[in-house]
């Protein structure tokens, strides 16, 4: 009985949320854009006209400059004579993979620690919150750079570094909400009925935090995509030959005035993807919590 009632409530929440989300054209547009990028990334091997690592002899002018967009190379070629369009498609794989995995780890760790700190309190809770205070003292990009400089750069390290930097904010949000929830009577009732800490965390607190987790998970992907592009622009992200948008801009920076498309095209890709996740996250926030509507 209890389970079916709970599920019914969730279903109501879902359909209501979807209806409100649906009415927000910007959020829906963001969702469509994300779908297109995911498709481009997954289907990159089929969609890409060329191998992203292949350097074409006819991919550079006689003077050795990259080619502007043309019929054969739709987005032109880069400074090594590689097809920019194919590299862009494969770059979407890198951005989305890091965005989803790194942020997924950060959200999982942050939620777990925030829950524990907010409900269990005691020395463990205090330690977790002082750790978040400490983490907030470091600018995220600089801490990521310092870590990436010490560890050997690569895909796994970039994911680890970003997760290590990004769990803090969500942990603090979940902590604040858990502290509020923990004082409610139904939690006291559950405890009185003999529910253990684990059961209370999992069955009684976590379901109420799902909306916040979803919102911050979505907004966090935007932050992660930006942080990854910065790291890779600084040469400390994923390493060649794996294409990454930030690195594509870094590599063509010295040719920038002659070949501006090599900056603008990957730059637009980063902007559009991060913007899409921000719009969807904002739309979800409004849809999941109608009392906050329009407050920014």
């Amino acid at each position: 009985m209890e389970i079916s009632g709970f599920d019914l409530g969730q279903e109501f929440l879902m359909s209501d949320t979807w209806r409100r989300f649906h009415r927000n054209p910007l959020a829906v547009a963001g969702l469509v854009v994300i779908a297109i990028f995911v498709f481009a990334a997954v289907a990159a091997p089929i969609l890409a006209p060329f191998d992203p690592a292949e350097q074409f002899f006819d991919g550079l002018t006689l003077e050795g400059s990259p080619l502007p967009p043309n019929a054969r190379f739709w987005f032109g070629t880069d400074t090594n004579g590689r097809d920019e369009f194919s590299r862009l498609l494969y770059g979407a794989q890198t951005s989305l993979l890091i965005g989803i995995v790194a942020n997924g780890i950060a959200v999982t760790v942050g939620t777990a620690l925030g829950l524990i700190a907010g409900y269990v309190r005691g020395w463990a809770g205090a330690a977790i919150m002082r750790l978040t205070d400490l983490m907030m003292a470091f600018p995220p990009l600089l801490l990521a750079i310092a870590l990436a400089a010490i560890l050997k750069p690569g895909l796994n390290i970039v994911i680890l570094v970003i997760a290590l930097v990004n769990w803090v904010q969500i942990a603090r949000v979940i902590y604040t909400e858990t502290v509020g929830l923990a004082e409610r009577e139904y939690i006291e009732a559950a405890r009185a009925l003999g529910a253990g800490t684990g059961r209370i965390l999992w069955r009684h607190l976590l379901p109420h935090l799902v909306p916040s987790v979803i919102v911050y998970a979505t907004l966090g992907i935007a932050t992660t995509v930006l942080l990854e592009s910065m790291l890779s622009f600084l040469g400390r992200g994923v390493q060649p030959p794996t294409p990454a948008w930030g690195m594509m801009i870094f590599e063509s920076q010295s040719y920038f005035l002659n070949a501006p498309w090599l900056v603008f095209i990957p730059g637009a890709a980063i902007l559009i993807l991060a913007l899409a996740f921000n719009l969807v996250g904002d739309g979800l926030r409004d849809a999941l919590d109608p009392t906050q509507r329009g407050r920014g």
């Binding site: 003292a137 750079i145 870590l147 900056v263 921000n278």
Partner: protein, 306 residues
């Protein structure tokens, strides 16, 4: 007030202690052996042992940390690998251009964020509001190197309104400051909007309107004064946030500050400089937080001290 001040100060010092432990651990984690780097590949074990001793690497980790922390307190950030000079003075000599850039960026973000937020709040729910908020989302969704390179291309290369990077005059300052301040301007416009909407619900605003004041006078005279308080309280935090941005922005515009120093250190993996800049940035953030906490009750007496 004094008790509050003491409490905040103690908390800040504790955080700085934590920062020093973290950076110490990071330094210890470095896989490259500093002894081998200094002594060279062909050094004898004797020489290496001597250098180990000189660097204090033969002591236990807590002892090493103590030496490390003592030197940090004295402002000694170690020696750069590549530049063969002390990191502390190196960073200090690069700070003035960076602080100037940050000051200009704070002006830029306020000049963008405050009017945009007031405008959006006054057109709440209408097209103008939606356009302003979408633009603010775009500004926070664009990596700063893309903003910087785009501004450079359009306003310096195509239009020649500004120099193509460099340092020295007011016109050199505009584009980098705009680049650094744009994202913050986006956040401020959202904060300003929600703060203004909140303030405009108050009774004294209704009274002002009922007196027959024009809407603009109501918003600017009665609304702005209160709505801007939360934003003023946030400015202290910007300096810390900017420490990330200057690495990218100073590189794009050839601005000779801490960010450029950091950029070069990243390219040559000059760990002491990377750590030094990270520590300085952490100090800025802690200081910024402290200032924000201290001025918040001064500018808004409704905020109670905890």
């Amino acid at each position: 007030m004094l008790a509050y001040l003491g409490k905040r100060l103690a908390a800040s010092l504790l955080i700085l202690l934590g920062v020093s432990i973290v950076t110490f651990c990071l330094t210890v984690m470095i896989p490259a052996d500093p002894v081998a780097m200094i002594a060279g590949r062909n050094s004898t074990p004797d020489v290496r042992e001597q250098i180990r001793h000189q660097l204090g690497l033969d002591k236990s980790l807590p002892e090493q940390y103590l030496t490390y922390a003592t030197r940090l307190v004295q402002g000694d950030l170690g020696r750069s690998y590549a530049r063969k000079s002390e990191v502390g003075p190196l960073i200090a000599s690069r700070l003035p251009p960076t602080l100037l850039l940050m000051l200009a960026a704070i002006c830029a973000e306020l000049l963008i964020g405050v009017p945009a937020g007031i405008y959006a709040a006054s057109r709440r729910g209408r097209v103008g509001d939606k356009v302003a908020m979408t633009l603010s989302f775009m500004s926070v969704s664009t990596p700063q190197f893309v903003v910087g390179l785009t501004l450079l291309y359009v306003f310096a290369y195509l239009l020649s309104w500004f120099p193509l990077g460099g340092y020295g005059s007011f016109s050199h300052l505009i584009l980098p400051a705009l680049t650094l301040g744009l994202a913050g301007g986006g956040w401020y416009s959202r904060m300003m909007r929600s703060s203004m909407i909140e303030v405009l619900r108050n009774d004294y605003i209704r009274t002002a309107r009922a007196k027959g004041m024009s809407e603009w006078r109501v918003v600017l005279k009665h609304g702005l004064r209160n709505a801007i308080l939360p934003i003023v309280a946030m400015i202290g935090l910007d300096v810390g946030i900017f420490m990330s941005g200057v690495v990218v922005v100073e590189n794009v515009f050839g601005w000779p500050g801490v960010g450029q120093l950091m950029w070069q250190a990243i390219q040559s993996l000059d760990i002491p400089i990377i750590m030094g800049v990270t520590i300085v940035a952490a100090c800025f953030i802690v200081l910024g937080n402290l200032i924000a906490d201290l001025i918040a009750p001064l500018i808004d007496p409704r905020i109670r001290l905890r």
